[in-house]
Amino acid sequence: MTRVLSLRRLRAMLVKETIQMRRDRVTFAMMLGIPLLLLILFGFAINTDPKHLPAALVAPTQDRYTRAIVTALEMTGYYHFTYPNVSAAEAERLIADGTVSFVVTIPSDFGRRVARGDHPQILIEADATDPAVASGAVSTLGTVASQALLREAGAEAQAAQAAASQLQVIVHKRYNPEGITQYNIVPGLLGVILQMTMVMMTSMALTRETERGTMENLLAMPVSPLEIMLGKVLPYLAVGAVQMAVILGAAKVLFHVPFVGAMWLLLLGVLLFVLALVLLGYTISTMARNQMQAMQLAFFFFLPSILLSGFMFPFRGMPGWAQWVGEMLPLTHFLRLVRAVMLKGADLATVRPEVGALLAFILVFSLLALSRFRRTLD
């Protein structure tokens, strides 16, 4: 009996642990769910070299050279001209609100200059807030365009060859000309950190009461579900405000991330986002039976948020279904908002869809939480 390792005792421990593991359904589901989730997300959804990126074409004279260039660009697989004929002003709006990743401008004298062999130019503006998105598309540009011109020219081969060799592709990396990754990551981290802490903390809100046995007393007293919910989530707005101040301060001081937008708009975005998060956490706490389960559920939500929101990998690079899932995550919308405001100086009208989405999350989560809340101990 004094041996350090007795197989009988070990067996008793193993049996007990296995039973407990099996009884905890959520943990068991997580053991299967998390590997599957990660495999599917990493395997199918994530693409670090995104293709078919939406682009707008500004070409007042849509001649055959224009078409040749457009076709050539689409053939690379990187560009997808969702707006094939827009004005310069429209194009500016499209790239500002993130509808397109590129604006290709072919000047009206392009055809004439090709014919004359007189330094034809095209301008490609890329949304470089996420440097990864633009890099692949931009790197292939020069040769593709020249070859396209050559092919198209055919008969006028000589002039065209000269023109092609003189073709200037001017690339403007907008919003983040140096392609500094921190500019993209640091504002994004604001969202990720808030998501991680807010949801985790509030997901314990009710489970803690249940576990400690104080829930019974709370329910026996005249307090309404709405009062309980608001009382539990509102204090975390203050926590979120502190976190935001720390991260934005660090962004400015340590990483020199530019901040070109309106502060009030950013604050509004953070407020809505944090509200959505604490309500999401509270919703989780109405479902979880203990704090361990709450943690796991919060983590289960955190994983896709970080992978599918466009924080780590380009949103446009994901297949349709993954983008659709991404749209269901508050972080996706917050990232768009915070990047648009901080890096692009977007105004309220530009980020209205994201503000609307965050408001919708707040509404849905509060209704869900209130309907899930058990007024009784049934």
């Binding site: 400690r212 026996a220 005249p222 009784t376 101990l377 049934d378």
Partner: protein
């Protein structure tokens, strides 16, 4: 408890002792509560008169806690209806919560809050104003003013219980529901607790208290005995004991091994339902008085022991009810 309750006791005339008619504080009929296949509360009907201290007794798992929870709106019954303080059990749960004080079986205030903070929280939820006055009055009544900043979690069992009771009566409820309030509390604290309950009842508060302790049952005006979800007996202690229709003998004489042998023989004898050793004597209980008398006198004579008739205790009656109910279940 040594001090008067925190809240002013209503000035209504002290209600006549239980059974005086008038509208009962609790009047429920046919309550049923199921958890899946299991029927935890099975067709329980119960009346508690205003101003009485009603004991609620029964073995572990008999449905006492569930019944109390249904009465204070924490659980919705699967069947049955009733009124608590004149409010409908199903429709007016919120109003019931306002007027009822419910002390849970397990200490359910915040252990990481101080005594004063817990009281202030409760006062806030019941909308008692000014909160400060209610808290300081309650602290003074409890004699905890000097320890008000101590965390509730650091209190001993007896003090936790006093704190919980004080918090439950701070809003001056008309009905107090106590779920095994004295579990794990020492006899002196228990005595003081019951003195306090009687003081509250004298002030017009109706009290329903569940307990396992026979001495506590005997301090109630009336008792209700529940077993396996069914209410099997109700009335005053004397009524319940009489209603069980038991006869009891005390057998003394044998010591040690003799007592055990005697116990075995008595158990096997006709007419004997219960045999329980109390020190050097045996309590022998049975329903069939004639058969019991015959068996006891015969076996006592054979063993050289002395058998004398004794009063049937409440505990004997309850053990009898428990066996009866179990037989019904089988």
């Amino acid at each position: 408890m040594s001090a008067a309750p925190a809240t002013p006791v209503p000035a209504t005339p002290v209600p006549a002792p239980p059974g005086s008619g008038g509208r009962p504080a609790i009047d429920v009929k046919g309550l049923v509560k199921r958890y899946g296949e299991r029927t935890v509360v099975d067709n329980v009907s119960m009346q508690v008169e205003t101003g009485e201290i009603a004991g609620f007794l029964g073995p572990n798992g008999s449905g006492k806690t569930t019944t109390i929870r249904v009465m204070c709106g924490l659980l919705t019954p699967d069947a049955g209806e009733g009124q608590v303080l004149g409010h409908d059990l199903r429709r007016d749960a919120r109003r019931i919560k306002r007027e009822v004080g419910y002390m849970t079986q397990r200490f359910s205030f915040y252990e990481d809050l101080s005594i004063a903070e817990n009281l202030a929280f409760v006062a806030g939820l019941y909308d008692l104003r000014p909160v400060k006055k209610y808290v300081s009055d309650t602290l003074a009544d409890l004699g905890l003013t000097s320890r008000q900043h101590q965390l509730a979690g650091s209190l001993s069992g007896g003090w936790k219980q006093r704190l919980a009771l004080a918090a439950c009566i701070m809003h001056n409820p008309r009905l107090l529901l106590l779920d095994e309030p004295t579990a794990g509390v020492d006899p002196k604290a228990r005595r003081e607790f019951w003195d306090e309950i009687h003081r509250l009842a004298a002030g017009g508060m109706t009290v329903l208290v569940s307990t396992h302790y026979m001495d506590e049952a005997e301090r109630c005006h009336r008792i209700n005995y529940i077993s396996y979800g069914k209410l099997v007996a109700r009335g005053t202690v004397a009524e319940v004991v009489a209603g069980a229709g038991l006869t009891t003998y005390v057998v003394e004489g044998g010591v040690g091994a003799d007592l055990i042998a005697l116990d075995d023989r008595l158990r096997a004898a006709p007419g004997v339902e219960q045999v329980a050793p109390f020190g050097a004597v045996l309590h022998v209980v049975g329903r069939d008085a004639a058969a019991l008398k015959a068996s006891v006198t015969r076996i006592a004579a054979e063993a050289g022991a002395r058998a004398t008739p004794a009063e049937t205790s409440l505990e004997d009656a309850f053990i009898h009810f428990m066996h009866g109910a179990k037989d019904n279940m089988a």
